[in-house]
């Protein structure tokens, strides 16, 4: 009791604390992306430079005091991964991008000592070529509304005190001391919060279903098994603000009457695992988790489990099987986990992003939450914007925002393979990962929400948004997702196990020029059969990428089948390398470059390629200085 009382989570105290609001801070993004780009080297360099600068610096995060004037800290992922390592200086409001070790001295001297901005390290808007000093004039940030991500990139994820000083665990305290479980469920229901992991099921209703169960033991599982290739919002929240996830779990536990929580984190996210584990340990040490939560007499403990690499474990019942130490295979619903879940006890499973919403809804009220977004899809959603787009990273926007706003304005436009901005060039966006579908030019003004996306054959899913330019072959993309789901199918349902295999084989036929008029029909029929005949979400949605590309890019499939041609030149089997007789001077360079001896011809006379021997490697085209080899 003493430890939790000693904590005193009072937001107003944090506001009155001069050290946090008035202190100048240098914040380094320490998310996976920035770390890969060398953020730690930059951090170390800052330590050295600042120590020698004569500035009064806090290097140790706990050693706070009003007599210091600069504080150096690490933050979680700020979402602008491509431009990392990111360095922000607050309250100056400067954001430096792509900072290297060599730049640190200049930042310390010019900005920290001299109060000037180092212009060359500012982000330049690729559309307007304008340098952006901070977040306000940077279109990537300025057009977002960060509800879940607002503290990622500001708070030090490894410092529980900082989280508490910013009002953290205040909502959990309120939930344990001032609210009844019914009230909490009602509040979440009123907010209209829907699961951010894919299905979009109303969170409040899920909680209520578990709350009404009579059982001495109930569980809360946080689903951090973000398996969708191309989505990383859960990683960022777990790395950037792990305590917000724990607070969400505590509130959920209080709402349904559970005293045990578990965070199931994908093993591909080592940093997220580490930070979640640390956050749990810190919360235990501070007495926030333990036998007497906030003096309420209730106990709460939390564990972190690492996944073992199975996409299907993102499905609720499969995840439960995995936690119980079995193969991660789903089981039929009902019974729903809320009735009989982990070890047969009532269990709720919520996505990381969903749980990260909860504390703010309790704190600021359901009204504030659903004041943005659409009627059926209130609030904000984080999308992972990647692929052929100028600004890649995490984008949190209200539901109802259009694709155009996200891709062209926040994302800064479509790029070619080398990251150069294209005029136009937009072909499609793949939304929702392997369960989702493709959206085209025609959908640019579609407001993104659960229902609107379902009506066009796509889904919010976990929120991966992969932008594709004109040089992307849609058949190959469909094949890519089908290969993924085929590999990840757990094998329980025949239609999913065998059906995805056959769908993949049919797509290979299209790509390799063996398909005929009946192939497309077969693809559609089989796709629908797999949707109907599978137990869990993986199988039910596996054909979506094929069906949606067939719907919107049918012409491209037909070109592959009837003209034996891929308009992007990506499908190797359909290439027909030929030597342009007018251009060829018969120099013989291509003959030497060909690994299979497929090119013949006399000196100074046009050469020719034997299609039987040619393996379409393109070596001749690379070797020929006269660009006489065409069709590769």
């Amino acid at each position: 009791m003493s430890s939790s009382d000693g904590l005193v989570v009072l937001p107003q105290q944090a506001n009155g604390n001069p050290t946090l609001s008035q202190l100048r801070r240098v914040i380094l993004c320490a998310g996976t992306g920035c770390m890969a780009n060398g953020a730690m080297k930059v951090f170390e360099q800052f330590k050295r430079e600042m120590a020698g600068s004569g500035l009064n610096v806090i290097l140790e995060l706990r050693a706070e005091g009003a007599d210091h004037d600069v504080r150096l800290s690490k933050s979680g992922c700020q979402g602008f991964c491509q431009m990392g390592p990111l360095v922000s200086v607050v309250p100056d409001g400067i954001l430096y991008t792509k900072v290297r070790q060599e730049d640190v001295a200049e930042i310390v001297q010019q900005t920290l000592v001299g109060g000037q901005t180092v212009d060359r390290l500012l982000y330049k808007d690729p559309a307007t070529r304008k340098a952006c000093r901070g977040l306000e004039d940077n279109p990537f940030y300025a057009r977002q509304s960060r509800f879940v991500l607002h503290e990622c990139g500001f708070l030090d994820p490894e410092d529980i005190q900082e989280f508490i000083q910013h009002g953290g665990y205040g909502a959990a305290r309120k939930a344990y001391l001032e609210m009844t479980p019914e009230e909490i469920c009602k509040k979440i229901m009123d907010s209209g919060l829907r699961g951010r992991g894919g299905g979009g099921f109303p969170t409040g209703r899920k909680w209520e279903a578990a709350r009404v169960q009579t059982s001495t033991k109930k569980y809360v599982i946080c689903n951090g098994d973000e398996g969708d290739p191309g989505a990383f919002m859960n990683r960022s929240v777990m790395e950037g603000n792990p305590h917000s996830v724990i607070e969400g779990i505590m509130i959920a536990a209080r709402a349904i009457g559970a005293n045990e929580g578990l965070v199931y984190v994908r093993a591909e996210y080592p940093l997220a695992v580490e930070r979640m584990r640390r956050a749990v340990a810190d919360a235990e040490r501070e007495g926030i988790l333990g036998d007497n939560v906030f003096g309420s007499g209730l106990s709460m403990k939390c564990d972190v489990m690492e996944g073992a690499g199975a996409f299907v474990c993102g499905e609720e019942t499969a995840m439960i099987a995995s936690i119980e130490g079995r193969r991660g295979m789903p089981s039929p619903k009902p019974p729903f986990p809320a009735q009989s879940g982990l070890w047969g006890k009532p269990t709720i499973i919520n996505n990381v992003e969903t749980l990260a919403h909860v504390s703010r809804i309790l704190k600021e009220g359901a009204e504030v939450f659903h004041s943005v977004g659409t009627k059926d899809s209130p609030g904000t959603k984080t999308f992972a914007l990647t692929g052929h787009v100028a600004n890649t990273g995490l984008v949190e926007v209200p539901f109802g925002t259009t694709l155009r706003e996200i891709v062209l304005n926040i994302g800064g436009g479509v790029t070619d393979d080398f990251g150069r901005l294209l005029k136009g060039g937009f072909k499609a966006v793949q939304i929702g990962g392997p369960s989702g579908g493709c959206l085209t030019q025609d959908h640019l003004d579609l407001p993104l929400a659960y229902e609107s996306l379902r009506s066009v054959g796509a889904m919010v899913g976990s929120g991966g948004l992969v932008v594709m330019n004109e040089r992307t072959c849609m058949v190959s993309i469909a094949r890519f997702f089908m290969e993924f789901t085929q590999r990840e199918s757990c094998g329980k349902c025949v239609l999913c196990r065998e059906g995805t295999k056959q769908l993949l084989a049919l797509l290979d036929d299209v790509i390799e020029g063996r398909a005929d008029a009946g192939t497309l029909d077969l693809l559609e029929k089989l796709g629908r059969a797999v949707q109907v005949g599978s137990l869990c979400g993986l199988g039910k949605t596996a054909p979506n990428p094929v069906l949606s590309t067939l719907r919107y890019f049918r012409k491209e499939y037909e070109e592959h089948i009837f003209e034996k041609r891929c308009r992007t030149g990506r499908c190797k089997a359909l290439l027909k390398p030929e030597i342009n007789e007018e251009r060829c001077k018969g120099c013989g360079v291509c003959i030497k470059s060909c690994p299979t001896g497929a090119i013949t011809g006399e000196k100074k006379k046009p050469h020719r390629i034997d299609p039987e021997l040619c393996i379409k490697c393109g070596a001749c085209a690379t070797a020929c200085k006269l660009h006489a080899v065409e069709g590769v």
């Binding site: 491509q82 290739p229 989505a231 073992a308 199975a310 992969v466 757990c490």
Partner: protein
């Protein structure tokens, strides 16, 4: 050889496994964390160890093998000293991760089936998504993440490792894998 020394020898060799099992209280529900810890220790899951785990937890070996083969993270074969993982998530894929992977396979003589080089120096794998999509395409070598990969850069990284191996360790590379050797029981 007499029975007793073999038993002692066996027990000694499985000492680390025993410690791991004990840490998890011999609970069959902890099978996945147990196998993760064993793999962390040995770099892979040797067959003998799996049988031993099944006996110790009092579950059928089929259950242990079932779990070990279900999850992508568990390797039933030893890995090379340097593990190269090419991300083939959607973002990396559309930014052409496949040519990078092919270049690595060509250079090292590995393939989708034969992931490890004959000299046990490299293992080349693909991974669905590392969540570092902003840096696509991404390559991870021994836990170090490299973004913006091209076939040329990937091959240069491999060359760099090879050069370091030659200068730092002129002997056989497999000589430095006591953990794996230890797991091989007769």
């Amino acid at each position: 050889m007499a029975a007793a020394p073999v038993a002692v020898d066996r027990a000694r060799k499985f000492e680390k496994v025993c410690n791991i099992l004990e840490r998890h209280n011999y609970r069959p529900s902890g099978l996945i964390p147990i196998l993760q810890a064993i793999q962390h220790e040995y770099q892979y899951l040797p067959e003998e160890v799996l049988t031993y785990v099944a006996t110790s937890l009092d579950v059928p070996p089929a259950r242990v093998f079932g779990v070990a083969t279900f999850y992508a993270h568990f390797a039933l074969e030893p890995k090379g000293r340097h593990v190269i993982r090419m991300c083939d998530g959607t973002a990396c894929h559309v930014k052409h991760s496949v040519p990078v992977l092919n270049a690595l396979h060509d250079k090292l003589g590995t393939s989708e089936k034969q992931k490890t080089t004959a000299d046990m120096l490299f293992t080349v794998e693909t991974v669905a998504c590392l969540g570092a999509c902003g840096l696509a395409p991404v390559l991870v070598i021994d836990e170090q993440v490299y973004g913006g990969m091209t076939p040329e850069r990937a091959l240069a990284l491999v060359d760099e490792i090879k050069t370091n191996e030659i200068t730092s360790d002129p002997g056989s590379p497999s000589a430095e894998q006591p953990a794996i050797g230890e797991a091989h029981v007769q």
